[in-house]
Subunit: 210 residues, 2 copies
Amino acid sequence: MTTPLEKARQDPESMKARILDVARRIFGEYGFHGTTTRMIAQEVGIDISTLHYHWGGKKDLYESVVVDINKDLRQKLSEVEKVIHGLPLSERLAISIDLTTDYLFDHPEVSNLILYRYFGKTRCEGNLDAIVPEFTADIARSMGLARDKKNVPPETTMKVLAVMNSIHNFISGESFFRPMVKVDRERYIALVKETLKFIHIPAFAQNETT
Amino acid sequence: MTTPLEKARQDPESMKARILDVARRIFGEYGFHGTTTRMIAQEVGIDISTLHYHWGGKKDLYESVVVDINKDLRQKLSEVEKVIHGLPLSERLAISIDLTTDYLFDHPEVSNLILYRYFGKTRCEGNLDAIVPEFTADIARSMGLARDKKNVPPETTMKVLAVMNSIHNFISGESFFRPMVKVDRERYIALVKETLKFIHIPAFAQNETT
DNA sequence: CTGTGATTCAATCGTTTGATGGAAGTGTAG
DNA sequence: CTACACTTCCATCAAACGATTGAATCACAG
């Protein structure tokens, strides 16, 4: 059986896929309550009821978006893991930061939506959060901080969260932070990478068993 | 002339102050669009029109909340600066992390609202953002990363942002992160401090001029 | 008590929002 | 062509939202 989301992804030109792409961007910008179904429909160029026909309702569409976002991010992290496999920790971190940052600057709605889920709440009765597998454990193992995916110590999980969040912050907060440092987009991206490496590499290199 | 906000703060039992306190919390939890004026009024135990009488409208109330939040945080950071003055950088960072984290865990709506402003957008025509003085420059100077408040280099601003954001993240994301590490609140707070020090102290200590 | 200004509330307005029903359009198999 | 499933849109609904009005209530000076 194929889920509606998989079906939508099979044909990127299908109406389902077009709606999903727009919904990703707008939900990411304005959050769940800040987004109206009419905003999405207008951006796609269709009627509201067409949106309802394909995705059922606002909550259903939002949950599909969240699942889709997480699927994309997981795949990207999996790609990164293959590139850095076997390298020393410092290099692994540096390359991971470069690749992940580049990817997220191209898809800022991913960071936006993840941060919205972390820090915001919704006033919906039902559990709006779709069941999304967390993959901090994968990152921890990929960074050599944990042997297996089970029983990752809390300290390690927290460290992984700190790294991932600091990346998402600079991506998602660009519209706020970039005017503060008064640089163009290209320079901002370079600054982000530089800062992330400055902050995180020394921390994990301090007890590196080279 | 006293602003409405100052007037409200003079008498903490006044209706203006009671509304402001509740609005801080609810706006922080649900964001601007996720919060309804009725939610705030019901929490305070008053009628909606009473809220409008005191604060004019939803946007005005939200802007007052943002200004109030930033004023509180600035004052707290000023207190912290006095404590750490003259100490070596590593100690300054450690103490700053401890004090700031404790304060924000007691007032999580501060972190919530700041992150909402960083990462979220509103679909209001007018510039919803009240003019809030940013104080990353003060922090930079207080940390010894900049000589004066003017002309702080972009690299320094980015580093300060990274530190502040990582703190806000763990405060505001507690409801999401704490179940991931499966610890009680007290242990979570300790973990946050520990992680923040692990991440940030080595970074700034690497080129410390002892 | 009376008058006056400040405060609070009940009732309601106009708009927006999420959602739906039914008509019209499109493509395909028989 | 017909029949039928699949899409899309127009018109519309009920509920929720922000906001306003006018009356009731309170505090208090004269």
